[in-house]
């Protein structure tokens, strides 16, 4: 396996799951698919559209997101918003992330 491909695989493994947390946090304010994709990219969470759109529906099905069609504008858009369950999960996941971060810091002797 070429070196950059190997790096890409490891990065993908490491980042798997962070998109879910990022979505739950960003969607505390309702937003729609493409805008969310744009926001995630701006914050530095690289995700493909074909991963994100099905993911949003899966999170909705799991009751972590709620959705509403906004038809005020000329182009109707489906707005997602983090549910109470989603907020709770986001807290748990954030806490876990912080613990991992602390663990890495102490591992590297920074604490």
């Amino acid at each position: 396996m070429p070196e950059d491909e190997l790096l890409a695989t490891h990065l993908q493994e490491l980042r798997r799951g962070t998109v879910v947390l990022a979505c739950l946090l960003i969607l505390q304010r309702p937003n729609y698919g493409y805008a969310l994709l744009d926001l995630l990219e701006k914050y530095g969470f690289a995700v493909d559209a074909n991963t994100l759109y099905p993911l949003l529906r899966r999170l909705e099905k799991q009751g972590l997101l709620t959705s509403d069609w906004n038809t005020d504008e000329s182009r109707p858009r489906k707005f997602y918003r983090t549910s109470a369950d989603g907020t709770a999960l986001a807290q748990t996941l954030s806490h876990d992330w912080d613990e991992l971060d602390a663990a890495f810091r102490s591992l590297k002797g920074e604490s």
Partner: protein, 311 residues
């Protein structure tokens, strides 16, 4: 029909009907948003559409994401159970099928060639059926909603027994000696015999037909091949293909013997006449050969099953 229409159609076709309207509306909005974004930053609309759809990728992959469908036939959770079941079935059913078909055909008084050919083609057909239906079953389990049914959890009890090499070496030596002795005796029967004809030439115990047709050499080749697999099993790593090949070689030997016995092709009629054996003696020799072959067949099937399960 625009490129987007065709893309959306292709993605929706793979989704349950009740999900379609909602997903279509959202997907179209998302595509339009992305295209607008690119056009605003100065890209030509057609090129923007192509770029956006290219980024979205294969519509079937997208649909699988929406429908939460696996993009593999049999996943890692089931793969080992799948290969184990497949190997067990192949190692047990195939020899049994070969034996049964050969027996039935031999009882029909078919000649040795067609017995072997029919047994081979039935085994081949059975192998394809086993492969197809087992795969279909597991592909179905993989797709069955709520797949929490774990077939079994692994425990250290399932570890293969360590092979007792010494015991196996004795077995290997005995098998080699028996094969060499047996082959030599068979090859010597035309020239070494208790009976002589009018010219004083020996009358072979075994039917000259075996030499005329070359069947005897084919039989000895099979025996040697089976021995070769025993060596492979002892010195190389044991694996399923070797076990199956060894089982098949053993089965082929037995089937050939049964076919020959059923067709009265083993003993030389001239020898029987010269030695003054009764017809009964002749019949008992054949019954003995068939019984031994059946025993070998059963043993090969049981052995293969045991090894695959432990492997």
């Amino acid at each position: 029909m625009t490129l987007t229409d065709r893309y959306v159609d292709a993605a929706l076709r793979r989704l349950p009907a009740r999900q379609r309207p909602d997903i279509e509306r959202e997907l179209r909005a998302s595509i339009a948003d992305a295209v607008d974004d690119r056009v605003e930053s100065g890209t030509d609309p057609t090129a923007a559409e192509v770029a956006v759809l290219t980024e979205l990728g294969d519509p079937q992959r997208l649909a699988a994401g929406y429908a939460d469908r696996p993009l593999h036939l049999i996943g890692p959770a089931l793969f080992l159970d799948y290969t184990r079941l497949l190997a067990t079935l192949l190692a047990t059913v195939l020899p049994a099928v070969a034996a049964i078909v050969a027996l039935v055909r031999a009882m029909d008084d078919a000649d040795a060639g067609s017995v072997v050919a029919d047994a081979f083609s039935a085994t081949f057909t059975a192998a394809i059926h086993i492969g197809f239906w087992t795969t279909l079953l597991f592909a179905f389990i993989e797709r069955f909603p709520g797949q929490h049914w774990v077939i079994h959890t692994w425990t250290p009890d399932a570890l293969p027994e360590p092979p007792s090499r010494r015991l196996k070496y004795t077995e290997l030596v005995l098998e080699t000696a028996a094969t060499v002795l047996f082959s030599t005796l068979i090859l010597l029967t035309p020239v070494v015999s208790t009976e002589k004809d009018a010219n004083g030439d020996p009358i072979g115990l075994l039917s000259p037909w075996l030499w005329d047709t070359g069947v005897v050499y084919g039989f000895i080749a099979l025996v040697v091949v089976a021995l070769g697999f025993s060596f492979a099993r002892y010195y190389g790593r044991w694996n399923v293909p070797i076990a199956i090949a060894r089982g098949l070689a053993t089965v082929a030997c037995s089937i050939l013997l049964i076919a020959l016995a059923a067709n009265d092709r083993i003993l030389n009629p001239e020898f029987i006449a010269a030695a003054g054996w009764s017809d009964d003696a002749n019949r008992w020799v054949y019954i003995g050969v068939i019984a031994t072959s059946l025993g070998t067949l059963a043993h090969a099937v049981v052995e293969a099953a045991k090894q695959v399960r432990k492997g």
